[in-house]
């Protein structure tokens, strides 16, 4: 057992909501609008549904082994070596995702906020605080998230209310002009970010102190996060129209730029950036935590904190070379779903089936 910290179901919910909002709030509408046009918000609702189904699968697997994390029971189910191999694959998956998300923050900052600044110092800063978060342990970290939650919630509310005067309802029409096909295909394509990524929480699952409640909060967190994303998508279509929703690099930020009520309540886009920074910080820290636990389990270490610095350094390098430019990052979002599919769906399913057949559970 590498992790001794315990978190409450409440913290678990918040963590998941942040995780979902974090990676996607600036990006989601763009990909969905590309194929579903003005019906993208419906696609988003479908994605949330799909996400909830996935989460129930994770819950099934997680509650079968309430005190073990993904790597531990994969060794138990598949045997030592096959299990270790699977754990290693997961490690690679988590680690690559981590680099991708760090790069996303870097890209955002140098495109929108500090265009002349090199990306390296930003990444160093970010990875610095990420390592700090992991060193404090999951328990401290989740308490920190709990403190941030009301602030972020309030800011998000202010943001949404401030956008209301800019809404033009006719932007939504015609509804279902192209039939349901593009909506479903858009939904299926974008299930990868962030819902398939939720498999990461199987690493955190055993740390929750009440297993039955954990299942509920897993679902609830997903629902909250998904709702926020749907609202943002809806707002961006209502305010910006389909052209901008599709072609802006950071749609939600563009939305915040538009806020102008009475000539004084304006230029508050930093609010949006703040929401995003906090939530994606939580996301990358969880990824980092996941990869470290994974690695620790594979190497059968007694203590995982010794891994933070070396892996942090590798992350830094990886995050700089993972994409050559922003266009590649955008392109990557398109195939990320298929890349995540085995990790987010097939392997958990496999583990579940094999464990049923071999009648393995935690005892």
């Amino acid at each position: 057992m590498l992790e001794n910290g315990k978190i409450s179901p409440h913290q678990y919910t918040i963590m998941i909501a942040f995780f979902i909002v974090g990676g996607s709030i600036l990006y989601t509408p763009s990909g969905l609008v590309h194929s579903a046009k003005q019906d993208a918000w419906m696609a988003n609702i479908i994605v949330v549904g799909l996400g909830l189904i996935l989460v129930s699968l994770f819950n099934l697997l997680g509650s079968r082994f309430p005190t073990m994390n993904l790597t531990e029971y994969s060794e138990r189910i598949l045997g030592k070596w096959l299990g270790k191999l699977l754990s290693f694959l997961y490690f690679i998956y988590f680690f690559l995702s981590l680099a991708v998300f760090i790069r996303q923050i870097g890209d955002f900052v140098i495109i929108q906020i500090l265009p002349d600044t090199p990306i390296l110092p930003l990444h160093i800063l970010l990875i610095g605080i990420m390592i700090m978060g992991v060193l404090y342990g999951i328990e401290t970290f989740s308490r920190a998230i709990e403190i941030f939650f009301p602030i972020i919630f309030l800011l998000l509310l202010i943001f949404i209310i401030s956008i209301f005067p800019m809404i033009e309802f006719q932007q939504l029409q015609p509804i279902l002009a192209n039939g349901t096909k593009p909506i479903i295909s858009a939904a299926v394509k974008s299930v990868g970010t962030p819902y398939l990524q939720l498999v990461l929480f199987l690493m955190v699952f055993p740390a929750v102190n009440q297993t039955t409640k954990a299942k509920k909060s897993f679902l609830l967190g997903t629902f909250i996060g998904g709702t926020v994303l749907t609202v943002v998508t809806l707002l961006s279509i209502l305010c910006l129209g389909t052209y901008f929703s599709e072609n802006m690099e950071f749609v939600a930020y563009a939305l915040a730029l538009k806020i102008n009520i009475g000539g004084f309540w304006q230029r508050i886009e930093a609010v949006m950036a703040f929401i995003w920074f906090i939530s994606i910080y939580i996301k990358i820290t969880l990824y980092f935590y996941g990869s470290i636990i994974c690695m620790g389990q594979i190497l059968e270490l007694k203590e995982y904190k010794c891994l933070t610095f070396p892996l942090g350094l590798i992350t830094l390098v990886l995050s700089l070379i993972i994409n050559k430019n922003i266009v590649e990052s955008d392109k990557q979002a398109e195939w990320w779903t298929s890349f995540s599919l085995p990790f987010g769906l097939f392997f958990p399913l496999l583990l579940l089936i094999v464990s049923k057949i071999r009648k393995k559970d935690s005892y």
Binding site: D107, I111, P115, D116, F250, V327, D330
Partner: protein, 400 residues
């Protein structure tokens, strides 16, 4: 107690006594020179100085409508004589420590500037931190007479403009005194200075009315770089040649490169970080120059319909075109310097001196001939990271 008292007395006394000695200069006895221009007229030196008018500058409430600077002009057989003669018109002694800009008249620069530099570097009052420019097609005196709007002291505006234009556009070059002297005396590098142009009429430009218009009738503009053979000015480079020279010298940090789109139209790439290296190597007793430029850019402006910025391949096409453009301007500047003017503003000689000093001493005498046909390898690496706030241009959506 007694001791403390004594100490206080002493320190107060020394405050009034220790006010420097023979060289003491009070602020109200000085005329602070911010700009100096040197021309030559009928074999005589003409010195123009721009002196701050302290009354106008200090006042926080608008001043009395006088010009914020005063320009004095005098002639003399030597530069020193001309400078001293200015005191006959100026009520105060000229003080050169705050000189920001030295303007050399084109005519004067053609005759050779070495002797003048001697005086300027000999004078202890001169610091070496001012910039030197050449007045293109005009007298240096005229440049200093123009009043400007943005900054109250015209020279300050010109000084800042040189800094910002090198930072953001990179066809100008900031050369200070020590750099210029070094370039002149060294055998392996030739001097170069930025040109400044007066657009409009001197008569209009000197009046305060010039600043009361939104668009001044006479204003100053930086032009491309001028090159020297030894200490004599010999000609101007074009805009793209100047840029090429700056690429090779590593003076470019940020600039804009305009490249053609695959089909009709143009795209502007903003370079944000550029570093470069200039080296030489000797193989088979033959020198070879190497210019390495590494740059990171963003797509700044798409002016064509055919560019699909959602595809990574498009970025590689743009990178290739940008590379071509940079190589082209370096090649142009190489051609202009070596073939047209037969000089070495790049400092290949210096580089050779550093890398193969024995060889350098051997060929130093014929260096310029050797340079003319020396192969130069240009290695440009371009990376485009970002494409800005939007992906595809709205032009892509416009049919017809």
């Amino acid at each position: 107690m007694n001791r403390k008292f004594l100490l206080i007395i002493i320190s107060i006394c020394s405050l009034s006594l220790l006010t420097s000695c023979w060289n003491r200069k009070e602020l109200n006895e000085l005329a602070i020179v911010v700009g100096m221009g040197i021309d030559i007229e009928d074999g005589k030196f003409v010195v123009t100085v721009q002196v701050v008018n302290p009354g106008e500058i200090a006042e926080s409430q608008g001043g009395s409508g006088k010009s914020p600077v005063v320009v004095y002009q005098e002639k003399g057989n030597t530069l020193f004589e001309a400078i001293r003669r200015i005191t006959t018109v100026s009520p105060r002694k000229l003080y050169f420590s705050h000189l920001r800009l030295l303007v050399l008249g084109e005519e004067f620069a053609k005759k050779g500037i070495a002797k003048t530099l001697d005086l300027l570097s000999r004078d202890p009052e001169m610091r070496a931190d001012f910039y030197i420019v050449v007045a293109k097609n005009k007298k240096a005196g005229d440049i200093l007479k123009i009043v400007t709007t943005m900054e109250r002291i015209p020279v300050q505006q010109v000084f800042e403009s040189l800094q910002s234009s090198e930072k953001a556009w990179a066809t100008t070059i900031q050369i200070t005194m020590d750099q210029l002297i070094y370039d002149i005396i060294s055998e392996g590098i030739s001097a170069k200075l930025t040109g400044i142009k007066l657009i409009g009429d001197v008569q209009d430009g000197g009046k305060l009315e010039n600043t009361q218009q939104t668009k001044p009738t006479a204003f100053l503009k930086y032009d491309s770089i001028g090159v020297f053979r030894k200490d004599k000015f010999i000609g101007w480079l074009s805009e793209s040649e100047s840029k090429g020279l700056n690429y090779a010298l590593g003076n470019v940090t940020s600039t804009v490169v305009t490249i053609p789109c695959p089909q009709k139209g143009k795209t502007a790439i903003e370079l944000i970080h550029t570093t470069s290296e200039l080296n030489t190597e000797v193989s088979d007793h033959k020198p070879k120059g190497i210019i390495k430029v590494t740059t990171v850019g963003n797509v700044g402006n798409v002016q064509c319909k055919t560019l699909d910025l959602t595809k990574p391949e498009t970025i590689s096409i743009l990178e290739r075109e940008t590379k071509k453009n940079i190589e082209h301007s370096i090649n142009k500047s190489l051609y202009a310097a070596r073939k047209k003017y037969k000089i070495d503003p790049f400092g290949f000689g210096e580089a050779l001196h550093r890398s193969n000093s024995d060889y350098w001493h051997l060929i130093k005498k014929d260096w310029l001939q050797i340079l003319e046909n020396m192969p130069v390898e240009i290695d440009v690496k371009v990376k485009i990271h970002n494409i800005g706030k939007i992906k595809n241009s709205p032009l892509n959506e416009i049919k017809n």
